[in-house]
Symmetry: D2
């Protein structure tokens, strides 16, 4: 960590900073330039936060040299991690194809959709039993009843299932019924929830928050990892943008950024990133081309009656065409869509 | 609600849309223009969501005409609401002056800070016992012990206290010890938590999320209001911006926007909005000038040893000068800083 | 165009709006809903701007139904346009591979770089003779001397050349020496410059502004097209974002959005979008995967001595590997990299 | 400037960096930490750009210590600059009240508006003769004829006039007819135009670009200052935001940031920042409260027939009320609205 002092810093202020650095257990390396004096901290930078140092009089800025996350970093684990979701591998050349409706709906419809996405090449089935809805008056999900439907339908079609948890009190139920636990974008910095899923041993699908930096995302992963759960898959699903022509701004470069910084698998969700069915297929391909370890797409057989987010769902037929294209691109890149081993 | 059809919509698609509208219990008003056909829905628009309608083939766009919130709207309550926090009024010309350290620290320090901010003119004391920290390795707050310290110090100095809750399981404890419950920016769309605090009858300080629109903020307030808790105070604390010269982008105009749409009081938090002590005093004045019902400022007597967010805290002396300026501006605007009545 | 009236609009206000609509030469279609009254305008919507209508008392909002551009729209030209840059086709399955240094430098270096990118598969050579630099103290380009160097080097290697123009007074010189004229991101809404290049008959490479919406971009293209120059190629090069981990936020979905709205070719520029050489190859692939008609990449044989933007340049060897990957992906998509016919 | 090397930098890379630093005429100060090696550059940092240094193999990051602007910095000119616009002072406690229609319209209307804003307390009259319009089909301004109308009306009412220039070829005409030259937001990084107005000796009103950082704004001012024109007034007019409830995001804190970094006066433009007449008065007050040296407001006596931007104009009566409030606030802050001395 580097402490950059103000140009008019006094000698007593410099000494005060040096004293604070020593109190924190670091050695200081003082460097006086023509215009500025810099103090380099020698010691384990990840043990301290730059904020209090910035508050010392005479300090202009504090620059981190190391990332603030450890377990999520590539240094900690140079090889790409491969996460196993009930037999489906994600990462290291194995692509996850997660598909299903936004919300869990009635069993018959779930059955039809699961059958269709399985046939199209999906390897994990999704559906929300607890739905984060902007409006308190909107459909909030079927709750534990929905979890059971999801489980049954997944089992029938031989597909592991992933579903979102919003309430720390519901983690045991989701852990019981699902193969993978999703943390939604709005809860990416719900540290209570991250800690709770970190205590389970179920794989976690951690979606990037709408205004989260890549570092924020990796720090949230670090919360889960630091509880002992190493099965984390990240998901880029669009950030807040100024152009309302798409629902969010699909930050495809973040996938390549994550690949450089971390060993964790990362998939893309073009459904939420764009909010438009016409953009999902090309954006899914872009995600795989940039290096994503999988694609998450909402599929519904009748979007106009979907209980949630209908307009961003693909029809099963459209999904099948998209997976066919992804499969060819994956081959070109030396990757493959994981098959369900169970 | 208006359904705008695509230019090449077929007659059978138009009929299908009309049938769906009728199924949903609305009357349709068909208007065929030279270039476009529009269907106006006649009925209670707030009962439906535009999303499923957008998924109907042939539909180009669905435009809302009414806001999606009811209880938070000015129509529902034309006069400004006045929220009472243990005798301190917020709204309707009464300004809240909320001050205190970021995190609850040891009792002696809390006592000194409370004494100083009370003398400066603060009317509500703040401090976090549960801290949302980006890093799992950072100080996470003193927990319920912190709540008790806050309560005791507040009582000693005759100041109501506000503190953040992050975990729905902690709501009863916070409700017991605090006079006002804060929902932090990262939890603005934690709908589980909003529902839980909505079930209490304690005033709630709801901070705007970093990428939340004003409508999102009012929808989150609606979650609380719809549970029967009408004591909601909003707080603008900066949104995500592209210029890192400030921590966030202080959206002062949003205060005036909220005043036009809602009856709920709204205060500003220049500490989190800017993250820089030099900017807090002028930005506090800007907030009051634009019409805010109070100001939330972090104050610490030794920012460089603060357990959280030191660099954005004012010293007690700086806070006193700021309140003195705010008081003069308030008088000019015909408002006043609420006094603690108890 | 739809005029949505305020809920409390008076009868005389409605009549005033109807009178204004008639004055503007439109027929009005009045629709009174339970909660709102809407006026639909029947006539050529593209002839008027919604702004003055919004200023009429009693009007809440004015909603456009048609896009504000005509010549750039897919309706005006249903087939994709193919732009010809001195024999190199862009669009309709033909990919442009534009490469070269940020700024035109000394002839020897230009010669070496041109030879290398040609061998790698580039079909258009780039280099700036007039450089938009944030600092007045930075290298501003070689001016007309640079144009001549670019021309000679391009001719020697059989590569058409593209270069940026910043000053309307320099358009004749650029038109004389270059095969394609670039409008940089900072000048995307320099309407004087757009008009001036619209008067030439040279192909124009129009880069998207850092905070321009897709509609803004198409409106800027419309400026050029409306002057009679139909040879416009758009370029996505990243928009302003909040995460400084990349220089800009690469909005790859905008390529697919443009494809739906317009017939104009659109290429991607991962160099400026990311500002990081490690991200350029995967982001170039993502751009082609999403449907771009070409890729613009900065290449320099010694980035550390580049006169401008060194850190975002690929080395010739890295560029060759990237083109090889793009070529395979293009084949998969049924496209091909254009060859220089001259 | 600090060069932070990668953790796995080789000894030969370190030597290469040191050699490059020496070639550039700087002394290097090498500091080897436990985890990282840092090189501090000793010499005049403002003479070099960090970009080429970032391209050297083994370099992780280059951190500036000094700002890249000189003439605009507070160090260069510790006292606030006072700009004189034909007798009206801006800065140093003197507030500019710039008002008038968006575009110059017919003489009679201009005369009525000028009379009204003068009576209300405006001290500079504005109107655009050259209009930057998103659409090529929209009204583009009256051109030089408009400049003459503006001049005559200003003279009649004893008000200096400010008007925008978009084309470097029109600078002489604008210089001839106007007292202050405006550079609009879309041209903030039109470096050709900045250089051209820098060569005049007329005061310049430089509006912040929609996605410009404060540093970008100061660098653009530096372009003008470096040409010898020291009469620059900055203007905050809103940046691009994600919430479409306002036209732009009014970044009021940037005014206070500029005050800390630069001696140049800065005013606010709540008309363009919000785009909504109901928000202009409170946002004007917020601007003055935060420390702005003036307020720019569009005023029109019949917004619904305005040739440009009608909906964001105040009526003369509303403007008079706003100025009355600003005057009281200015007194409270020890400032005053400048009077026209001629």
């Amino acid at each position: 960590m580097l402490i950059i002092l103000q140009s008019d810093v006094s000698e007593s202020q410099v000494e005060h900073v040096l004293a604070r650095v020593a109190e924190l257990g670091f050695k200081a390396h003082l460097s006086r330039g023509t215009y500025r004096t810099i103090i380099g901290l020698i010691g384990d930078e990840q043990k301290i936060s730059p904020e209090p140092l910035k508050a010392i009089p005479g300090v202009q800025d504090v620059v981190r040299v190391l990332p603030p996350y450890k377990l999520a970093s590539r240094e900690a684990h140079p090889q790409p991690s491969v996460v196993d979701v009930a037999g489906v591998k994600i990462g290291g050349g194995h692509l996850a194809m997660i598909a299903g409706p936004c919300a869990v709906e009635e069993p018959d419809r779930m059955d039809r959709i699961a059958e269709a996405v399985k046939a199209a090449g999906a390897n994990i089935f999704r559906g929300g039993a607890y739905k984060p809805r902007t409006s308190p008056y909107a459909f909030q999900g079927l709750g534990e009843e929905g979890l059971k439907i999801l489980r049954e339908v997944g089992d029938k079609h031989g597909l592991p299932v992933v579903t979102e948890v919003m309430d720390p009190r519901c983690v045991p139920a989701v852990e019981k019924w699902a193969d993978m636990i999703q943390i939604g974008a709005r809860n990416m910095q719900n540290f209570v929830l991250l800690t709770e899923v970190g205590r389970t041993r179920k794989p976690v699908l951690l979606k990037r928050g709408m205004s989260a930096t890549v570092e924020d995302l990796l720090m949230s992963a670090e919360y889960i990892l630091s509880q002992g759960n190493s099965q984390v898959v990240l998901c880029e699903r669009g950030v807040k943008g100024f152009d309302k022509v798409t629902r969010n701004l699909y930050d495809v470069a973040s996938v390549a950024v994550v690949k450089g910084l971390s060993h964790l698998p990362i998939i893309v969700d073009p459904s939420h990133a764009t909010g438009r069915p016409d953009l999902i297929p090309p954006c899914a391909l872009a995600g795989v081309a940039v290096g994503a370890d999988g694609v998450h797409i909402e599929v519904h057989d009748c979007p106009e009656v979907a209980k949630s987010d209908g307009p961003q769902a693909l029809l099963p037929r459209q999904y099948a065409e998209t997976v066919a294209q992804i499969r060819k691109l994956a081959e070109l890149l030396g990757k493959s869509i994981s098959t369900v081993s169970k």
